[in-house]
Amino acid sequence: MPQDMPPVGGYGPVQYKRNLPARGFRPAFYLLGTAVVMTLGFYKFGQGVREHNELAREKMWSRIHLIPALTAEEDRDQVRRYLADRAREKELLGTETQVYNSNRFVRPTFAVTPEK
């Protein structure tokens, strides 16, 4: 009995590849697009950071211009309270005590309240 043999001329080709259409563009385009979007975004971000820095500078200088006026007012008030305190002590006790061993101005820790 003759053995089973392939047909004359061999078998036909077997389709092992999927036959689907490739969607979209080539991958290189997507890579390029991402790079463009990222670059643009980082550029705008950098611009924003620089503008933020300038705004911070503006705010800082507005405060710097005001600090002397505010400090002067505060200091005048502190001196007024200090002198009033000294005068009160002189009137009540007849002494002028020096609390600290220096003649610098020390902001008071406790507030002495005048009697009504």
């Binding site: 211009h65 002067a72 005048r76 009033a84 005068a87 309240t113």
Partner: protein, 154 residues
């Protein structure tokens, strides 16, 4: 319980004793934060010399600046008060519009550029004071003069 009443309250803490007579009196600024912020660059433009003098005096007073720099402090206050007085006299509407805008916009200068442009123009025309931001990088438009902004609404 002790019978003693707590004394640290706001009624008792107020000490209204004025300064003694040998120290010259000066009217305080009396402006709240928004007008001060609005006027700050003009105060800086006109009073720079007084401000620097006062800060230097305090820096070199060795801890006694509160007493020793009162004269400079009075000059600073008078100068700042003169700026606010001039603003009120010459540019009252623009000034008011700007600081009210600042009050409404969380005191963010960049949200009030349109009002600020009008104020700056008025102040420059009438008082010859110009807003400049020191240390702005060279070749860049100062941020308050820019037409296109990332953050500002206008």
């Amino acid at each position: 319980m002790s019978a003693r009443q707590p004394r640290f309250n706001r009624d008792n803490l107020i000490d209204t004793t004025p300064l003694p007579d040998h120290i010259p009196k000066v009217q305080e600024l009396g402006a709240s934060s928004a007008p001060l912020l609005s006027a700050s660059f003009f105060i800086g433009a006109r009073c720079k010399a007084y401000n620097d003098d006062y800060m230097m005096c305090k820096n070199e007073a060795n801890g006694r600046g509160e007493f020793d720099c009162m004269k400079e402090g009075r000059k600073v206050t008078r100068c700042a008060a003169s700026v606010i007085k001039d603003l009120n006299e010459h540019c009252l509407d623009e000034f008011r519009a700007h600081w009210q805008c600042l009050d409404n916009q969380n005191q963010q200068l960049w949200n009030c550029r349109s009002a600020e442009r009008k104020l700056n123009k008025c102040v420059f025309d009438k008082l010859k004071l110009e807003k400049t931001i020191p240390d702005t990088p060279k070749g860049e438009t100062p941020v308050h003069l820019r037409v296109k902004n990332t953050f500002a609404k206008n």
